[in-house]
């Protein structure tokens, strides 16, 4: 009962501190709000997140190739193309790309470059005269030029990505043709055309553009298809976890603070055991993080419309995170001699650990994402981030069990070491 009284007193003090409230609730919400605004705006069903439409000029100088001259290529999906250049034109002008780019055709490479230099457009695609010819030559290498405004990054980057995927698809088709020619010994254009068509229609959708470009949306969570939520949900999850650990550390600092203020020694003069006093302090740390995480998860849902996952897995991960954040705070403070050291430790160590834990979110989609995810598991909040990402991806209860067990294991180790150090100090 006395432990509970101590916990209530500590929590009352914490929640009366404007500084603590700002760090517990204000900063995570504010930062999430800023990310939300950066990427389009708040709203639970936000479709407002749209990438800027990039103006693109295409200078199609392609004269066609032997194969295209012999057989007017008919590509699946209804696209009619007399040359590879025509094909690229058609693909880029497809209505499904209308949200991403606005394509204009020009007659010369100079005109295209001039449009970029004068910042009328963000990028220019220059298709050389021998593009189809080189593509048709089984030993040749076809290339085109992407001329872009160096001051712009997102729009031209998207165009570059689209073109790379297009070229990859066509290269794959060409390899298929090459293998066929090598195996049959025939260079009959009709055969080649058939192979190309068979290759290009082999995609399950049968959609020309989808087959050629295979534009995939990489999703890390199930956020009702909203691109904005896909970005901000993991960020807010990360912020909640980071600030839960910060709160754990600053709440546990009340032990040192009370020692310095003289109230802890005074508590030791009352008929209350040291175990009860420390238990009360630890309980306060845990309960404070419970309140903080619960409120932030609910506000994340209400304000930003974030779906954290189904109740049981989210609860399990949240409990694991609370335990780890609270015990991490106890452990961290047990290493400190005074609150003066706290500023350096909290500012430095917690930031580094928080950044390590957030690497999987920052490095999403990068080739080294798996490596970064593994690195993040070397720090306790890394497991918490992993758990929340799992629940946001609709993980079931059994899917998050390992994460929960890892968090629990961290908690036990941190708690035992922290308690032993504090008991030794106040023995």
């Amino acid at each position: 009962m006395k432990a509970f009284d101590i916990a209530i007193k500590d929590m009352t003090r914490s929640f009366r501190s404007a500084f603590a409230l700002i760090f517990m609730f204000g900063v995570p919400l504010l930062m999430t709000g800023m990310f939300s605004l950066m990427f389009g705006g708040p709203g639970s069903n936000s479709q407002a997140f749209t990438l800027p439409v990039t103006k693109v000029v295409v200078a199609n100088l392609d004269q066609g190739g032997p194969g295209f001259e012999a057989v007017k290529a008919q590509f699946p999906g209804g696209i009619q193309a007399g040359s590879m250049g025509d094909l690229i034109e058609s693909v880029l002008q497809d209505k499904s790309f209308a949200e991403l780019m606005q394509v204009t055709l020009v007659d010369s490479a100079e005109a295209a470059r001039k449009a970029v230099d004068s910042q009328e457009v963000g990028a220019a695609i220059l298709i050389p005269a021998d593009f189809s010819a080189r593509f048709s030559d089984l030993e040749g290498q076809a290339s085109l030029e992407l001329y872009k405004d160096p001051a712009l990054t997102i729009g031209p980057g998207i165009i570059q990505s689209i073109m790379e995927q297009f070229m990859d698809s066509m290269s794959a088709a060409k390899i298929a043709v090459k293998v066929t020619v090598k195996q049959t010994g025939s260079t009959d254009p009709a055969l080649i055309d058939r192979v190309m068509q068979q290759y290009l229609t082999s995609a399950p959708s049968g959609d020309q553009r989808a087959t050629l470009l295979d534009v995939r949306t990489v999703t890390t969570n199930k956020q009702s298809g909203s691109p904005l939520l896909t970005i901000i949900a993991p960020i807010m999850g990360w912020l909640i976890i980071f600030y839960a650990f910060f709160t754990g550390a600053s709440s546990a600092q009340s032990i040192l603070k009370e020692d310095e203020e003289g109230t802890l020694p005074r508590l030791f003069t009352t008929p209350t055991s040291q175990t009860t006093i420390l238990a009360g302090k630890f309980l306060a740390v845990g309960l404070t993080v419970v309140v903080q995480m619960t409120v932030l998860l609910i506000l994340g849902r209400l304000i930003f419309g974030i779906t954290w996952g189904t109740l049981l897995p989210v609860s399990l991960v949240t409990i694991g995170t609370i335990l780890t954040a609270a015990t991490f705070g106890i452990f961290l403070n047990s290493l400190l001699k005074s609150t003066k050291q706290g500023g350096l430790i909290f500012g430095g160590l917690l930031t580094v650990i928080g950044m390590l834990a957030g690497i999987p979110i920052i490095a999403r989609g990068s080739p080294a994402a798996d490596t970064f995810s593994t690195i993040s598991l070397f720090v306790p909040p890394g497991w918490a981030v992993r758990g929340l990402l799992q629940t946001m991806n609709s993980a079931a209860l059994q899917d998050v069990l390992i994460t929960f067990l890892a968090l629990t294991a961290w908690s036990i180790v941190l708690f035992v070491v922290g308690v032993l150090r504090f008991q030794k100090r106040y023995a």
């Binding site: 006395k2 009284d5 007193k9 009352t12 003090r13 009366r16 501190s17 203020e261 003289g262 109230t263 020694p265 005074r266 508590l267 030791f268 003069t269 009352t270 008929p271 209350t272 055991s273």
Partner: protein
């Protein structure tokens, strides 16, 4: 058992590394009396109180508080004690009422009993009207009063007060000294530490003078003054090196002791009226100008000076 002894301290020792803070302290405090530990800062008073509060384990020795040993029954000791620490130990972001309620719970009070006792203590310390204000907004004297109030919540039989008047205004000091006497009148035993001679002299039934971790004298105020006899304390300020007159003054008939510090000389003499003219004559002969003179009747300050060769506030 109805023993007359409330506190029995037996040969307590405590060292912090090489520093011997308390060296074989012995004393007894009778029930219902005010017992003062008097000594300068660093004398070992707070370390002694800390051991008697079970905050520190003694290296050697023991103390029995109303039948409870500080070594064997710390919880028993704590349950009969109220402790007023030297520094204010309160939660500044809680109100006086919230502070008292919390500390009351720590002493095991609950429900209606707690509520009633908090109201009583607020009345005793005269802060009923300000009970809802946060302690952080209080003046130093008001905080001191709450600091004392906390120790009274569970109606302890023994109360320790460790230099409770440090750094407060005269009005608040007067209020605290009156409250100490009031506690005694209610039957409480008070162990009071101070470095203010006047407080010990005014309040105490018995006094122990501490210096360098040891008790150098114990007794009533009168007993202790008898150590220095009926000697007067004469403090003189001179305008030059003390060495020019010090030896001559030491040789003056009726002067028992001379100490010098920063241009101020302190003398113990049988009769100040008889000695002072000789002191002025000697000063004039040595071309020393006396700029001030103060004469004090025998008191604890003189006792401390007599026993240690230093002033109490050194």
């Amino acid at each position: 058992m109805n023993q007359p002894i409330a506190i029995e301290v037996k040969n307590l020792y405590k060292a912090f590394g090489e520093t011997k803070a308390v060296q074989g302290v012995n004393f007894t405090v009778e029930k219902g009396e005010i017992f003062s530990l008097l000594g300068p800062n660093g004398a070992g008073k707070t370390t002694t109180i800390s051991m008697l509060s079970c905050l520190l384990h003694p290296d050697e020795g023991d103390a029995i508080i109303l039948g409870h040993s500080i070594r064997k029954d710390a919880m028993g000791v704590k349950s009969v004690l109220g402790v007023v620490p030297q520094e204010i130990a309160l939660y500044e972001d809680l109100s006086a009422r919230e502070n008292l309620a919390f500390w009351g719970k720590m002493y095991g009070l609950r429900g209606a009993v707690l509520k009633a006792r908090v109201a009583e203590v607020l009345a005793i310390i005269g802060l009923t009207d300000r009970a809802k204000d946060r302690v952080g907004k209080y003046s130093g004297g008001m905080k001191r009063r709450v600091n004392i109030g906390v120790a009274l919540l569970h109606k302890p039989k023994v109360i320790y007060m460790d230099d409770p008047t440090v750094g407060i205004d005269p009005q608040s000091r007067r209020s605290i000294l009156d409250s100490v006497v009031a506690l005694k009148n209610q039957g409480m035993t008070v162990l009071y530490t101070t470095h203010y001679m006047e407080e010990a002299q005014e309040l105490s039934d018995h006094i122990a003078i501490m210096d360098h971790g040891k008790i150098i004298a114990t007794g009533t105020n009168e007993d202790l003054i008898r150590i220095v006899g009926e000697m007067h304390r004469i403090t003189l300020t001179i305008n030059t090196e003390s060495s020019r007159v010090m030896e001559a003054w030491k040789a003056t008939q009726g002067v028992k002791q001379v100490t010098a510090e920063d241009g101020t000389l302190t003398l113990l003499a049988d009769d100040s009226n008889r000695v002072l003219p000789h002191l002025f004559e000697t000063a004039a002969a040595n071309k020393v100008r006396i700029s001030s003179v103060a004469v004090q009747e025998p008191n604890l300050e003189a006792v401390f000076l007599h026993l240690t060769g230093r002033a109490l506030r050194d």
